[in-house]
Symmetry: C2
Subunit: 365 residues, 2 copies
């Protein structure tokens, strides 16, 4: 089936993350999207490459932080350099989406469809993802709506926001689309269990597909403070974009697009996504993607172990020798080693902050 | 009180240990006696320096393995180079003692007293040790006996052999001397507790003081296979010593002096030793000698921690960041990191052997 809307589709990959959850391997200068733990390619390269066949490199953009523009261009060498845009400072996803809207409108003012995607998630079934994304583009091109790709939950996560789905849409496409009833914040364990059981809730993975023109309307209505950014980005040539962002970003509030726009919209469509998605949120989650070795440890690099199981060891260019330890994460990077209880990885941010506050903290975080 | 016997006293420090218990910081090429964790000086330097005032450097000898002779000389630069003797291979302490006997006889055939000491133990009260050693030399010079310095046990260790003490000797010296009734092997926990409670047992720390001439008699009687080594070492000039050992060592059995001689002797005297002695046998024991920091971790080097206590971290030139782990030993050295349960340190040898068996094992052990 041909999909003429695809010729107007632009991917805008948001790649503004910092480096706290995979510290010390990821750092401010080399955040998670540059990790090569999974399949030897950076997550960012994978995010770009899985779009192959869906849209040409000219229609793939990456929004990252200014200081990461050079490494981002290096990680996605097929993209035109002006397609990698650096924000002067982080202002969360609402600002990045307004910028994305302007960038797409600049390139295709009439029919441009912006696919807001993420840079640091794994998808094992890229073909299914492409199918869903293509179907979503067709819906977004044809309707006054936002399409979000919701992830069919595989366990009762309390770490994600959820999208409650309503009645199904009759779209004739392979992908199942439903009306989104509401966006819900990260639930507690009990509520999460109910969400997974009822089959009516998806994880909010931060992927949104909308026509730039419709997006502008939504910004005007729900986040008018972002309209200037959106409109000026649509009319500013690439060479002058940095200066524009330098002027407009500082006063912007830090707000997520979920909070600034999505939760206020009455018409959102959710596409059911099941394509081996995982945001690999912590060191503990790495074990879901790398097979444990015979000694029951997840190892990248070099490890010897005696009576040591259920550990995650990232030890490239270094030998890690384990004796009698269980459920520990050991990660070496540069001149830092992390040794962390696997059940405490969610608190890693605190440790990174503590290290960052040292007089020599900049060396490490 | 003058002690004329001291002018005949020779210290022979046995420094033949390998590097398994403090791996990866200690290795075959840099065994425990070269560790500088305690007070910044190697244990070997400390073993030499604590003899200051008791005997001049010319009367201090070190027996080590041949490959360690250069580093040993470097660690004890005040000793004449020919006083550091390298065994071509390890043949346990009986052979080393026979060699020591010959070396002392070579220098002082009539009255030489050999003080067999160790290279890798801590003694916090060196003055008391010197007093006991001087008193022991006087006893050994005057009697046909071996004096051993027994350590007053501070806890029911199952890791040491014990010496059972009998009636006290009236020697007129500050040091308490008792007849040694017998040498006993490492006891189980129950027996060890009894030994500590009865006040009649000492730890066998491998320190023996005897006249070379008496020592030769004991060798002749109980370990005649070592007599040739003893006698030829007594008549061979330093320049030809290596060749002598190369010829005599290979067929020697590996036997400890305790087993080959001490356990067979009827007249041994034990000096009561209480001078902050510790053999620092494992990484766990390091915590007895280095104060824990405010976060309740024993740290040498650089460590940040959150909710992590009772760990031992050796992290020089590297930052170790701990999160939520307890009772773990983390040691970095070269391109190796050990992560070990603090209660499993006694099994470290197995891990070192496993690493040593790798194709690239020599790089690490």
């Amino acid at each position: 089936m041909t999909n003429p809307a695809l010729s107007h589709a632009y991917a805008v990959i948001l790649a503004g993350g910092r480096g706290e959850r995979f510290w010390p391997l990821s750092t401010a200068a080399r955040p998670k999207q540059f990790l090569t733990l999974f399949g030897g390619k950076t997550l960012l390269s994978q995010a770009v490459e899985r779009l192959a066949g869906l849209m040409p490199p000219e229609r793939i953009l990456v929004i990252t932080s200014r200081d990461l523009v050079p490494v981002t261009r290096a990680a996605a060498p097929k993209l035109p350099p002006q397609n990698v845009i650096g924000e002067p400072m982080g202002r969360d996803t609402a600002a990045a989406c307004a910028l994305a809207c302007g960038l797409v409108a600049h390139r295709d003012p009439q029919g441009g469809v912006a696919c807001i995607l993420t840079a640091d998630q794994l998808m094992t079934d890229a073909a299914t993802f492409r199918q869903i994304l293509a179907d979503s583009v067709a819906i977004a091109a044809a309707r006054e709506t936002i399409v979000t790709i919701g992830i069919q939950p595989t366990y009762p996560s309390t770490g994600f926001g959820y999208i409650e789905a309503g009645e199904a849409l009759d779209t004739g496409s392979v992908t199942r689309f439903e009306r989104a009833r509401r966006f819900v914040e990260k639930p507690n364990a009990e509520v999460a269990a109910r969400y997974v059981a009822d089959g009516k809730h998806y994880w909010n993975a931060g992927m949104f597909i909308w026509r730039a023109a419709f997006m502008r309307q939504a910004i005007q209505q729900h986040a008018p403070h972002l309209l200037e950014l959106c409109d000026k980005a649509a009319t500013t040539p690439p060479a002058k974009l940095d200066a524009l962002l330098d002027a407009l970003y500082p006063p912007l509030p830090k707000i997520s697009v979920d909070f600034a726009i999505m939760e206020k919209m009455s018409d959102i469509v959710v596409a059911r996504g099941a394509f081996g998605w995982d945001d690999v949120g912590t060191w503990a989650a790495v074990g879901n993607h790398i097979l444990a070795n015979a000694a029951q440890n997840v190892v990248v690099g070099d490890c010897e172990a005696i009576d040591a199981t259920d550990n995650v060891v990232i030890s490239e260019g270094r030998l890690t020798a384990l004796l009698g330890v269980k459920n520990v994460v050991v990660v070496h990077a540069g001149n830092v080693t992390l040794v962390c209880d696997r059940d405490r990885v969610q608190d890693l941010k605190k440790l990174v902050q503590q290290v960052g506050k040292r007089a020599d903290g900049a060396k490490y975080v």
